[in-house]
Each structure stands twice: as C-alpha cells, then as structure tokens.
C-alpha cells in the first residue's frame, strides 16, 4: 500500500476500524463517529463491510476523518485506531490485522493482557452497558472512551449525535453511559 502510505503522510486523515458482531451496532458506531467529526467541522466517511447479514456474524465498519473531502473508496487496511466491541472476536478474527506501530487498539473486555509494543486499551464497556442501559449494547460507550483517549472527536459533538440518533429515553441513557466511559478514558 505504498500509494496509500504516501497519501496518509501528506494528509491529516485518520482511519478507524470497528470490529463487532451483527446486531451490536458497529455500523451505527462508525456512522455516529463520522457525523460527530462532521459537527466538529471535519470531513468524514463511514461504511460497513458485511460478511453474511445475520445477527452474531463478525462485522467490520470503517470511519475516515480528514480536514478535506475524502476521495478514498476502498477499505481501511492500516487503521490508526481499532475498536473491538466484543472480546469474543479475538479468537475469531484478526483484529490486529494491518496495524501500524502507531495504531491504538481499544477492546471491550474486563482484562486484557497486552503483548508487544502496541498501545492497547481495555474498557469494561459491557459492565457499563449492563449497569446503565440494562442491555449489552456497547457501541456508544466505546466511542466515549475513544473520544477521551484519542481526542479525535469532541465529546460535545459525540453526545449531540448520540442524542439525535437515539431519540427519547434511550438517547438520554446512552449519553450518560458515553459520558461515564469518557471520564474513564
């Protein structure tokens, strides 16, 4: 990916890859992030790669954020950030595929024994979700943690988009849970 590497060197673009399972909201998370970045005044793009369309199947989604319009129309192979919504996937797919020395990985898990030099963060998003939302949906929570750890998106924009995406009580609860994850970051 020489062309891509050169492009990334010359531009301020960041690329994020989400790993989750069908039904967990990875695609929605990628879209929320793109919308929040747009609210911050950036250009953004988010898209899924579906395997088979069924609940529980591994799903990937991607977000790109840049200061100028985004012209790349292929998948993200060398992400700057990887967000893993389900630690059960660690045994199923290579979530570390194509990562760079600088890549940061955030995993929803109780504990993670990191190996090697990469920055791996773990957050018990499932614990927060069960506690605050009453169900194991972690997509907004992991974004809150991501926002604090990376400063790639502002928490204000993120919370605004979450409230718009989930109207009413669900939105309010998600905003609170996202804030909590942000504070833990």
């Amino acid at each position: 990916m020489i062309i891509h590497d050169k492009y990334m060197e010359e531009n301020l673009m960041i690329e994020i890859r989400f790993h989750g399972r069908g039904g967990q909201g990875s695609v929605t998370a990628a879209e929320i992030l793109a919308k929040a970045a747009f609210k911050d005044g950036k250009y953004s793009q988010a898209f899924p790669f579906f395997g088979v369309e069924r609940r529980g199947a591994p799903v990937m989604a991607f977000t790109r954020i840049d200061d100028k319009p985004i012209d790349l129309r292929y998948q993200v192979y060398n992400p700057d950030y990887v967000l893993v919504l389900d630690d059960g996937l660690l045994n199923v797919v290579d979530v570390f595929s194509g990562i760079k020395d600088s890549t940061e990985v955030i995993i929803n898990t109780e504990t993670f024994e990191g190996s090697g030099a990469h920055k791996v963060h773990s957050i018990d998003a499932t614990g927060i979700a069960l506690d605050m939302l009453g169900r194991n949906i972690v997509n907004t929570i992991i974004l809150g943690y991501f926002a604090k750890k990376t400063q790639a998106v502002s928490i204000d924009s993120l919370l605004e988009v979450i409230a718009e995406t989930f109207p009413g009580k669900v939105g309010e609860l998600n905003v609170e849970a996202t804030k909590k994850a942000y504070d833990m970051g």
Binding site: I3, Y7, S44, A46, L72
Partner: protein
C-alpha cells in the same frame, strides 16, 4: 440549504422528495434499497404527496411505473441487482413507450454464484433497453443527478426514462457530507411535469405502445435513437443550468488532468475518486496521466470523449462488468468509437475491493501491454 452526513441511498431519497413525484411504485423486499424505506417514511409523514404503491415483484413495480408515467405524472422507482434483472422485459417497454420516469439502481453483482456486493453488471446488462444511464461517483452526485435526470428525461426532445446508477455498498451504505438543496431552488430548476405528447386521458382516449407492424417498428426504434442523440445536448444544458442555480458543475464526462496526459484512465462511478488520488500521486512522480470519468454511459457521449482523449497515446479502461469473449462493456464501446490504443481491465467484480495497487497494475500494464483485456487481482490457481 443544509449539509448533513448521509448515505447515497438517503441522498437519492432526498432528491426524490424535492422532485415531488406523484407515484412511487416499489417492490419493498430484498434486493430493494433503503431508498424505498426513506420514501415510505416521507409519504407516511406527508413530506411527499405521492401515491406509494407496494407491489408483488420488481416486474410489477416497473409495470406500475410505466402505467403511472403513461398517465402523465412524475414517477420514481428504485431497485438493485436481481430486482433490475426481473425488470428487464419492462425496461424495454418503458423506453419504447417513451415514459420519462427515473429509476435508481444500487449497482450490485448478479447470481450465480450468489453475491450481494458491488459491481456494475446489473445495469450494464440493461444498456440496450433504450434508457439513459448515468453513473455517479459520490452521495452529492447521486442527489444532484437524480434531480437532473427528471429534467433530462421529461424534455420533449428526449422523453426516455433515466437510470441513476450508484455503486452498491461503496455509495449506498457509506455516509458522507451532502448538501441538500432547498425546495424553492429545486422548484425553480425542476417545475412540475406537464406532459406535452401522448399520455392517457379518459377525456381524449388513446393507446400507447400497443402494436407496430414491420412497416412502423423500425421507425419507432429509430425515433428512440434520435431522442438519444438529442439527449446529449439536453444533458449538457441541464448540467449547466444546474450549476447556475446550485453551483456544482457536472457534464456528460469529467476529464481530470487529461490535457497533456500520455495515458488516460477511463472509468465510471465511485472508483473515479480513488483513481483521481492515484493520478495525483503518479503526477508527483512525473508520470503524465489523467482520468476521464464517464457519467453518461447511455447516451454514449462520443464527441465529448474524443475531445478529452485527443492528445493521449493510450487509454486504460477499468470495467466492473464483463461481456464474455469481449471484455468490459465500456472497453468495447471505447474500442468501437475511439481510434486510440485502448486496453481493458476487469476489476471489482462481486465487491472485490479495488485498492490503489490494482489501479497501479492497470497503469503499468497499459505502459507495457501484455494483452488487450486483463483481469486485475485474479487469483490464478
């Protein structure tokens, strides 16, 4: 005017809302797009005063569209992949009956093997139906082109239906910022449809598209070719008029750094964005290379293409479709109409991701050709 982050599907639905169709017949089950879901919501919310007709197949959806358009109202429908294949028979009837409505097709692969992902075989397989086909590159262009398609199709010198072709998943499921025009500007650009030629009216009964014996059939088909020829100028004029009101300029084709290029890529749809990035990088390395994006595939804008490629030595056509024994459809059309050294490349079938490496390979194999048509990224086992 507002700017929002949305998929190309939603962008098309927004354009349809602004175009104010009176009838929207759709088959609402897979492989339908979310375009029809958004439109169902808009109709339910009374954002569009349209009759939303749910039918039992795509064949019925397009038949209902022809019927409604024949009755003289503005009509929209959407489909994808196998759905478009089931419409095949009536696509020809729609064009032959000169019903000027608009269909959005989410470009996706055709079975078998079963594959839900992007390529352009579905709409390419309909290229001889007599429809205008315009391929779009991003969500903004999907919205803008849907609006322009009505104005082009409804022009009395054209009166042919339009197919807006947008890459499945790569556009239909990708969110990105889109500017939504305001209703007032759109009304100015696209006034209500007033049919001037044949349409069904109980007060002045007539029939459309029923029977033409050997004495008349040829002339009816030739009249469609004349309409296609007319559409070249109408498309360009409509693009210019759109640019005046909305500030975004489109054309039949869009040349990029072609003026002094030795090698020019020719492609359609979302792939053009990636190619433009690669053209820039190759230019940084001193390579004289450009891109010619084909927006209007039918009518095939021969003169505009000739003008854009007149100075180049070679052409690399990248097709997301294949005609067995020949090559890609765009490649073979270019070979017929353009007197240049042309090479064809097949890429991105069934959703195979087209990375920069694939495009570079096409470039290298155009510089040092091995054969006329090359399947890029083929796993040879």
């Amino acid at each position: 005017m507002v700017k929002e982050v949305m998929t190309s599907n939603k962008a098309v639905a927004e354009a349809v809302r602004l175009a104010k169709p009176q009838v929207i017949p759709v088959y609402p089950i897979t492989p339908q797009t979310t375009i029809s879901e958004y439109l169902a919501q808009y109709v339910a919310d009374e954002k569009i005063a349209a009759k939303y007709v749910k039918v039992e197949s795509e064949h019925s959806a397009i038949s209902a569209a022809v019927g409604a358009s024949g009755a003289g109202v503005r009509v929209f429908t959407a489909t994808s992949s196998q759905g478009l294949m089931l419409m095949h028979e009536i696509l020809f009837a729609a064009a032959g009956m000169r019903t000027p409505f608009v269909l959005a097709d989410a470009n996706r692969a055709i079975s078998a093997p079963l594959n839900i992902w992007n390529d352009q075989q579905d709409s390419i397989a309909q290229r001889d139906a007599g429809w205008l086909q315009i391929y779009v590159e991003n969500a903004q262009e999907a919205l803008d082109t849907t609006l322009m398609a009505y104005k082009i199709s409804e022009n009395p010198d054209v009166l042919l239906p339009s197919m807006v072709c947008l890459d499945g998943f790569i556009l239909t499921h990708t969110v990105e910022p889109v500017e939504i025009p305001d209703q007032e500007s759109v009304d100015k650009f696209l006034p209500p449809y007033v049919p001037e030629h044949a349409y069904l009216d109980p007060k002045e009964p007539m029939s459309i598209g029923n029977f033409a014996d050997p004495d008349y059939y040829t002339e009816a088909r030739y009249a469609m070719q004349v309409a296609m020829d007319n559409s070249i100028e109408v498309i360009q004029k409509t693009c210019d008029e759109f640019a005046e009101i909305f500030g975004r300029q489109y054309g039949l084709v869009e040349p990029y750094k072609t003026e002094d290029a030795d090698i020019i890529f020719v492609a359609m749809g979302s792939l053009c964005s990636t190619i433009r990035v690669i053209v820039d990088q190759l230019r940084d390395q001193g390579e004289k290379v450009g891109l010619l994006k084909i927006r209007a595939y039918r009518p095939f804008p021969v003169e505009a293409i000739k003008e854009a490629v007149k100075n180049c030595e070679k052409i690399a056509v990248i097709d997301k479709n294949y005609s067995f024994g020949i090559g890609g459809a765009l490649y073979s059309d270019m070979k017929v109409k353009i007197d240049k050294e042309i090479y064809g490349f097949i890429a991105g079938l069934g959703g195979r991701d087209i990375t920069p490496e694939y495009i570079l390979e096409a470039y290298e194999k155009t510089k040092v050709p091995e054969k006329d048509v090359t399947w890029i990224g083929l796993k040879e086992e």
